[in-house]
Amino acid sequence: MPATLPEGSTPPNEANEANEARVRAPLRKADRKGRRVEVVLARGLATMAALLAGAYVAGLVHLLMRGSSKLLAVSSTPVPRAGVENESVVRGFVSVAVFALLAWAVIATGRMVVGRVTRMRTADENAADPKLGGWAIAAIAGAVVAVGIVLRDHVPSFLVTLPSETTAGGGVGPEIFNTLYFAVLSTAVTLPIGVGAAVYMARFARSKPMVGALRTALDTLASLPSIVYGLFGFLVFVVQMQAGYSLFAGAFVLALLNLPLVVGISEESLRAVPQEVEDASIALGATRVQTTLRVTLPYAWPGILSALVLSVGRVFAESAPLIMTAGTTISRGSAYSLNPFRGGETLAVHLWYVNSSGLSPDKADVSAGTAAVLVVLIFLTNLGASRLARFGGAMGNKATSRLGKATR
């Protein structure tokens, strides 16, 4: 026995023997039963997952590449105008958006490259990407707007021309316009009602039956297939009111469709507002409503905004309810009209329509282009939503510290 072993701790003999008998228990990898099977299984799972992810990446990349011929076709000769209401203004907007996207892509890549080079040169792993100053951003924004307006007749013609039913060369200008207009219209309904209902749920809910009814209503809305919304819109606006297909009906139905999402996320963000922040406001003599308007809502705003952006993404993506409420056509005269009581299709509907009843000879290219525009829009909204969500964290902290100071 070594000297360090204290007296009285001499182990019983039989235990010692038992230990020695087990000494030869294996430790080597090769000795473990079933290890081989596991390795094969893990490889199989990895392959499957890689194939799954690879399929989506390949599909999206392929789609963007096929559509890019339409999206990047900048023309030196002016794209002819159809001569319809608002066309020039819409072209200006599209053109500015295209150039803004380009500028953003260039700047973002530039920042990343410069940041990486600095990190490599200075061996400082935490060096941040360089930032642009406020003036530089303003100057670039101004330049983008100017260039966009000047070159508004030279943007890819696919983005600014009218669709064509039977001949090649149709564009999706009105579809882009309608898609964005739908987003605005339906948000105009979702924002007040959705946030109002969320505030009610999070802060003012007193009556139990009302809360129960609201929860049930939201659960029901969330569980309905979108085609059912379409049927409802069709029944109310097209059949009962005999208003025909209209953007208004479509926007209303989409707003209804988005309510559960917006109320859900908004309520969550409102509930995430720390009690201390509200208490601080109450302690300063603010009423419950003042506190909600001036403290709670601003604090939860990034979360609410990201819910709205997500709901915009659904507006872009939805097709079935719009086919039944806003129709599948673009009428030449009101292609860019702001009148919400006209019908009109969105990009998603166009993609379906071209394939199911379109007669144009280049419908494969038009589909690819439409799908690419749609995917780019979705990508941007998703990026926006996640940026906002992250921004929310930073904002929240700032708000707390500012309030903390105020109360001190």
């Binding site: 070594p2 360090t4 072993l5 701790s9 235990a15 230990n19 228990a25 080597r28 090769a30 473990r32």
Partner: protein, 260 residues
């Protein structure tokens, strides 16, 4: 690099030689050498963040799954380096069991909790399973309390019972060494006393290394005690020596409550 001299008797169950652990830039355990003898209870004490838990987790390679952890030096189990390239950490853990600070029974029945390790190791025979589960639960002094409700969820037990269930679970696979990371820190005094009694009983069949924040506990249950401070093993000696006349100033300061 010369390692500080360690007492490494031939029959040491486990032996760490010049063991260092790094989390990214931070050195959590710095050049620790010590041995764990057969059938002893070895306690580690020290202020929180001193590296004692991290060190304990290196003894059955539980740190492997944490990202950015680098282990230098060697740990031997019966003379075999468990950090050798061809050693399977899974097999190491079957011989060196572990009980955690927070009891973590699986959301399964009491029986299945204890049988889990056996099933993992490939035991299918229902009779053998039943027999080994009973033996483990008896060893953990839990059998009488749960024998009538083996099919009930392990989560329905009290905190102390849950921790003993976790000990039974670890014992069922018949490990040679049991590592315990503050096993009683979340328990009331009565449950703690039961666990301590259990530890003294278990020493007859296996070696135990235990991390504890309670010096009284270390004094009650261990034969030897090591004092960790800032990632280093400051002193390791008989428990009575450590608590009555420690050699190092730092140990004395800690024990007399001047810091920690």
């Amino acid at each position: 690099m010369k390692h500080p001299p360690i007492d490494a008797p031939a029959d040491a169950k486990m032996r760490a030689v010049g063991l260092s652990v790094q989390y990214g830039e931070k050195v959590a355990v710095n050049e620790v050498s010590l041995s764990l003898l057969s059938n002893e209870v070895l306690a580690f004490i020290g202020p929180s963040g001193c590296g004692k838990s991290t060190f304990l987790r290196t003894l059955n390679r539980m740190n492997d799954s944490i990202e950015g952890v680098k282990v230098k030096g060697s740990v031997e189990l019966d003379g075999e380096d468990i950090y050798a390239a061809d050693v399977d950490p899974v097999l190491v853990r079957r011989r060196v069991g572990m009980v955690f600070q927070k009891s973590n029974p699986f959301p399964k029945s009491i029986f299945e909790n204890v049988a889990y390790g056996l099933r993992i190791a490939g035991v299918r025979d229902r009779g053998i399973l039943a027999e080994k589960v009973e033996r483990a639960l008896t060893q953990a002094a839990l059998w009488d309390e749960v024998k009538d409700r083996l099919d009930e969820s392990g989560l329905g037990l009290s905190g102390g019972q849950q921790q003993r269930l976790c000990i039974a679970r670890a014992l069922a696979v018949e490990p040679e060494v049991l590592l315990m990371d503050e096993p009683a820190s979340a328990l009331d005094p009565i449950a703690t006393a039961k666990i301590e009694e259990l530890i003294s009983e278990l020493r007859k069949t296996l070696s135990i290394a235990i991390v504890t924040h309670s010096m009284q506990q270390a004094a009650r249950i261990s034969q030897r005690t090591g004092f960790f401070y800032m990632g280093k093993l400051v002193e390791l000696d008989d428990t009575t020596t450590i608590f009555t006349k420690p050699n190092e100033r730092a140990t004395e300061d800690y024990i007399t409550g001047r810091f920690g």
